[in-house]
């Protein structure tokens, strides 16, 4: 009982502190502190309730137990990370996104293809493509090649749609200016269309980071070698050692957030001119 009371008390204190801080003003440090405090108070709430209500670790392990498990099984987690993220997700992401990018540039030249492919692409992007996973695992085998293939299929259409939309983002007047300069197709592509498309392209790249990780992990449920994050999650769930599963989820969350954050940083560097980046 004391655990619950303590956790609730801690949470309320943090919340009051957060309200004070948020109303005090806005600067860089407060913008970081407020969400951090909120996250910490959620963890304390979790720990307190699990301990206070005596919830079995088979159902929900405490954050501290997960942290201990995480620090003691780093070698296994690393092997899984390399297998799933570096080999499966990353390679598929690079192949899929660059294929979609090149396709989009080719499609952009023809308005007929654009009118035909865009509705179809929009439709396919809304489909549960993850369902292709069992088929691709059957075609490419159990190792990372099949995971990579699933990721390629998953990221292709969102990336294609975003790039095609981006390539038509330039204004007619800018296009006319390029024409008055007598710019060739390639010159106006590299100096006008591509820079103008960058915000859209990065939007696609950011969406695809999460999709890539999901694709790589879920396709391991359909068959994998004896390593990999998806493999570990499904087998450890079967053995009911949930602290390991949560440690694996932590790795996935960290990898996903870092991947996304890196893309956002690169975006900030390249599209510094865009209104959404200036505050």
């Amino acid at each position: 009982m004391t655990w619950i009371v303590f956790a609730l008390f801690f949470w309320i204190t943090m919340w009051i502190l957060n309200v004070r801080l948020a109303n005090a003003g806005r600067n860089r440090i407060i913008n970081l502190i407020v969400p951090a405090l909120f996250g910490i108070s959620l963890l304390v709430l979790w720990e307190g309730f699990v301990r206070g209500l005596n919830i079995s670790p088979i159902l929900l392990p405490t954050p501290s137990a997960i942290a201990i498990r995480f620090s003691t099984s780093i070698p296994i987690l690393w092997v899984d990370f390399v297998q799933t993220f570096v080999k499966g997700a990353l390679s598929g992401y690079v192949i899929g996104c660059s294929a979609a990018f090149l396709t989009a540039i080719a499609v952009d030249k023809s308005s007929f293809l654009k009118r035909g492919l865009l509705p179809v692409g929009n439709f396919v992007a809304a489909l549960p493509i993850i369902g292709m996973a069992p088929i691709l695992v059957m075609w490419f085998g159990f190792d990372w090649h099949s995971k990579s293939a699933v990721v390629v299929v998953m990221v292709f259409f969102p990336m294609l749609i975003n790039t095609v939309a981006g390539l038509s983002a330039k204004d007619t007047i800018q296009n006319d200016l390029m024409q008055t300069y007598g710019a060739s197709y390639w010159q106006s592509l590299f100096k006008l269309s591509l820079p103008a498309a960058m915000p859209f392209i990065f939007n696609g790249l950011k969406i695809c980071t999460t999709l890539a990780l999901i694709g790589a992990i879920v396709s391991e449920f359909f068959g994998s070698p004896t390593r990999g994050m998806g493999f570990r999650i499904s087998t450890e769930v079967g053995r009911l050692s949930l602290d390991m599963v949560w440690a694996e989820i932590t790795v996935a969350a960290l990898a996903g957030s870092t991947f996304y954050g890196m893309m956002a940083l690169i975006e900030k560097g390249i599209t510094f001119w865009h209104p959404s980046q200036r505050s």
């Binding site: 919340w15 957060n18 309200v19 801080l21 948020a22 109303n23 913008n31 407020v34 969400p35 405090l37 909120f38 996250g39 959620l42 088979i58 159902l59 929900l60 007929f112 293809l113 654009k114 009118r115 035909g116 492919l117 509705p119 179809v120 439709f123 809304a126 489909l127 549960p128 993850i130 369902g131 069992p134 088929i135 695992v137 059957m138 075609w139 980071t209 999460t210 990780l213 999901i214 992990i217 879920v218 449920f221 359909f222 068959g223 994050m229 998806g230 999650i233 499904s234 769930v237 079967g238 009911l240 949930l242 599963v245 989820i249 996935a252 969350a253 996903g256 957030s257 991947f259 996304y260």
Partner: protein
């Protein structure tokens, strides 16, 4: 005449692209299945001509890639010819997935709208919750799905609810982001106008903020429902292939029934497309009644 040309301008390219895709599919069928056809002929000590090989690739039982007409035949067989209550009926499996999807979508939308209202009205909530909402989506929730299902099963909750929870997690995010944007979309002049009328917070919410958020809401609902269908399908995988479209996928992959996998996939695609289309229709109707031009 003009209408007809407009029709072809829009539909023509789409139909062409679809025809090309189907053509590529047929070519791929022949290409992928030819190895098995030749292999079979070799074991029977016969040689087959090219046309025999092509016709064989279209009728295999467990082809690497089934031909489109095989998939359509299978869908016809498992929807029209089977009774709806039969466990072999795709309609039955589709309904199970659909009910989880809709339940999760309803939860997710409600939760998302409430969260968005909180974020718009409370600065502290905006600053502390919003970053975590965004982080929550970089976590591959689908990877967590098996654990949620197994754990909830252990507590005694099984069936629809665990799948709906996964759907909810996937569908609340677009709704939060869209609604926060939508509820903040009235410009300063409109808010000032409400103030000159001395409107209460309550009535300026119902009469200004909520109506002006509608276009944003519908845009995110369309993304949300597609996401919650994916959630429901993946949620069906770890329960051991009992029922639902996801179970059909898993069972198909265990037994190498490629035709079954593809028919479940196409079914899921049709389901997703019709759900999005239904929301699109409601959107059109609502926005027209509200006097918003599309």
């Amino acid at each position: 005449m003009n209408k007809l040309r407009f029709f072809w301008h829009k539909v023509g390219p789409v139909v062409t692209v679809l025809l090309v895709i189907i053509a590529i599919w047929y070519v791929a069928t022949v290409w992928l299945n030819s190895a098995w056809a030749y292999d079979k002929a070799k074991r029977a000590d016969t040689t087959i001509s090219f046309s025999q090989m092509v016709s064989d690739t279209m009728i295999q039982d467990k082809p690497l890639l089934p031909a489109p007409h095989q998939v359509i035949k299978e869908i016809y067989k498992t929807t029209v010819l089977k009774k709806v209550t039969s466990k072999r009926s795709l309609i039955w499996h589709g309904w199970i997935t659909l009910s989880a999807t809709l339940l999760g979508f309803a939860f997710g939308t409600t939760f998302g709208i409430l969260l968005a209202i909180g974020i718009v009205y409370s600065r502290a909530m905006d600053m502390s919750v919003m970053p975590w909402v965004i982080t929550s989506q970089t976590i591959p929730i689908l990877a967590v799905a098996p654990m949620i299902i197994v754990v909830l099963n252990a507590v005694g909750i099984s069936g629809l609810l665990p799948k709906a929870i996964i759907s909810m997690y996937l569908s609340f995010f677009p709704v939060v982001v869209g609604m926060v944007k939508g509820l903040r979309s009235p410009d300063q002049m409109q808010i000032d106008q409400m103030r000159t009328w001395s409107a209460s917070k309550n009535s300026s919410f119902w009469k200004l903020r909520l109506p002006s958020s509608m276009p944003y809401l519908f845009a995110s609902l369309k993304i949300g429902i597609a996401a919650s269908l994916v959630g429901a399908i993946v949620g069906e995988l770890p329960t051991g292939a009992v029922a639902g479209l996801g179970a059909r996928l898993l069972a198909g992959s265990y037994y190498g029934q490629t035709i079954q996998i593809w028919s479940a996939l196409i079914c899921a695609a049709i389901l997703a497309a019709s759900l999005v289309a239904i929301i699109g229709t409601i959107e059109k109707y609502t926005l027209r009644r509200m006097g918003i031009q599309l």
